[in-house]
Amino acid sequence: MKHLGKALAVAAFMLATSAQAEIRFGVVNEAYAPYTTKDASGKAIGWEIDLMDAICKELKEQCTIVDVSWDGLIPALESKKIDVIWSSMSITDERKKRIDFTDKYYSALAGMIGAKDGVIGATAEQLKGKTVGIAVSTTQSAYFKKHFAEIATEKSYATVDESFQDLASGRVDYIFADTGPLKELLKTDLGKECCEYKGSVEADDAVLGAGVGGGVRKGDDELREKLNGAIKAVRANGTYAEFSKKYFDYDPY
């Protein structure tokens, strides 16, 4: 028992010291291609991971990735299991009540996909009486509540991937999500066969947020400033544009 106690104390000490020497990035463990996803061996890859690597190189810091589920990100940040949320989290007023954000590092564009039927557009007129699949508690869900709740039905999913299965089998008419992952889904065999991009919705920054940023603990200004500086630096020195080319045919900023 004595030895166990000692071993635990040593382990706790090691954890405590190693935690100070690095920045822990909280990344969702649900796939969110092209931003964050995992390769066959379980290693995190994607645009946001490339950005993280670039930033850490810029800061000359040791960075580690911590897997957290989407709904656990903010609690994990507050309980100091992670130091920064790095998971396509839009900067919204609601979230700002709980956490601080870095400057934005990309802009999320909300759009819709639906069955191939030639009807293009994502307006109230098209959506009338339709069922729309939305990942629960996303900015799109808030947008839907504000603009479309009266005319169409919302169906909640845990992830965008799951709603895609239901779009293919006709259980929802549209999926409303961030354009990046939607276009990724359309590139799959199933996506090519069944569905098409319908268009983006009218802008509403109040609910859709002012871009995506890294979430940090309230008052952790030192880290926030450091990350802001690094985001600026990788934008300026061309690294940002370079790795973005691998994923997008446009500038995601």
């Binding site: 709904d71 508690s137 909640s156 999913y157 845990a158 239901d166």
Partner: protein, 229 residues
């Protein structure tokens, strides 16, 4: 502790509680009916029926409920639209919803567990009682209806209460197929308000209360039908 969200979300919560109770009621009633058939098949003489029933129970008890639910919802459910005419038929509004598939999966699963318990209970009915029934000239069907099944159900009653409670606690997984049950409502509230514990506490109280009601109900039932020992 912040519970100010309750009023804003009360419709969602009430409807969620309704769906949880609905799913529990449907799956327990229909599952129990199916379980009777499964148990009879297993204690009966037909070897094919026995084998079928045994395989059914092994399969449904041997795979996680989540996998069954997803196989039924995403597997079966994605083949349905390819049946010609179904998408424009009157059945489609039902088949389109996750609720139908959730109820189906919960029912099939409950029946498998219940069937095994009922089989054991049927074997536990004293041979003498069945022989006495035969001696007074009852037909096999009448023995089953009047003696064997009622006695078996009474023997299994204390176990059924536990099974129903387990079934209640299995219902939250229906959220994974878009059914906004009570857990689904709590999940949404947690995500919307960024509160971690309060919505979970609220549903905990609900589940515990419902469990209390279920066990009390079964207790009453047990007391109402005393067993002579």
């Amino acid at each position: 502790m912040d519970f100010s969200w309750i009023f804003e979300y009360q419709d969602l919560l009430l409807y969620g509680a309704f769906l949880t109770c609905l799913l529990l009621t449907i799956s327990v009633t229909l599952g129990f009916a199916l379980a009777i058939l499964l148990a009879i098949a297993q204690v009966g003489r037909g070897s094919i029926a026995r084998w079928l029933s045994k395989s059914y129970c092994t399969f449904f008890r041997g795979t996680p409920l989540l996998i069954q639910l997803w196989l039924i919802y995403y597997g079966l459910g994605s083949y349905l639209p390819h049946i010609p005419g179904l998408r424009s038929s009157f059945l489609w509004p039902v088949l389109r919803e996750g609720l139908f598939f959730a109820a189906l999966a919960l029912t099939l699963n409950f029946a498998a567990y219940q069937g095994e318990i009922l089989r054991g209970a049927m074997l536990a009915v004293p041979k003498g009682e069945l022989e006495a029934a035969r001696a007074v000239g009852m037909s096999p069907w009448m023995i089953l209806r009047r003696i064997w099944l009622p006695r078996a159900i009474r023997i299994g009653l204390p176990t059924f209460a536990g099974e129903v409670v387990l079934q209640l606690k299995a219902t939250p997984i229906v959220f994974s197929v878009t059914v906004m049950d009570l857990y689904g409502a709590a999940y949404k509230i947690r995500q919307d308000t960024l509160l971690v514990y309060e919505p979970l506490l609220l549903v905990t109280v609900f589940y515990v209360s419902l469990t209390f009601l279920i066990t009390q109900g079964f207790q009453k039932l047990e007391n109402a039908i005393p067993v002579r020992r």
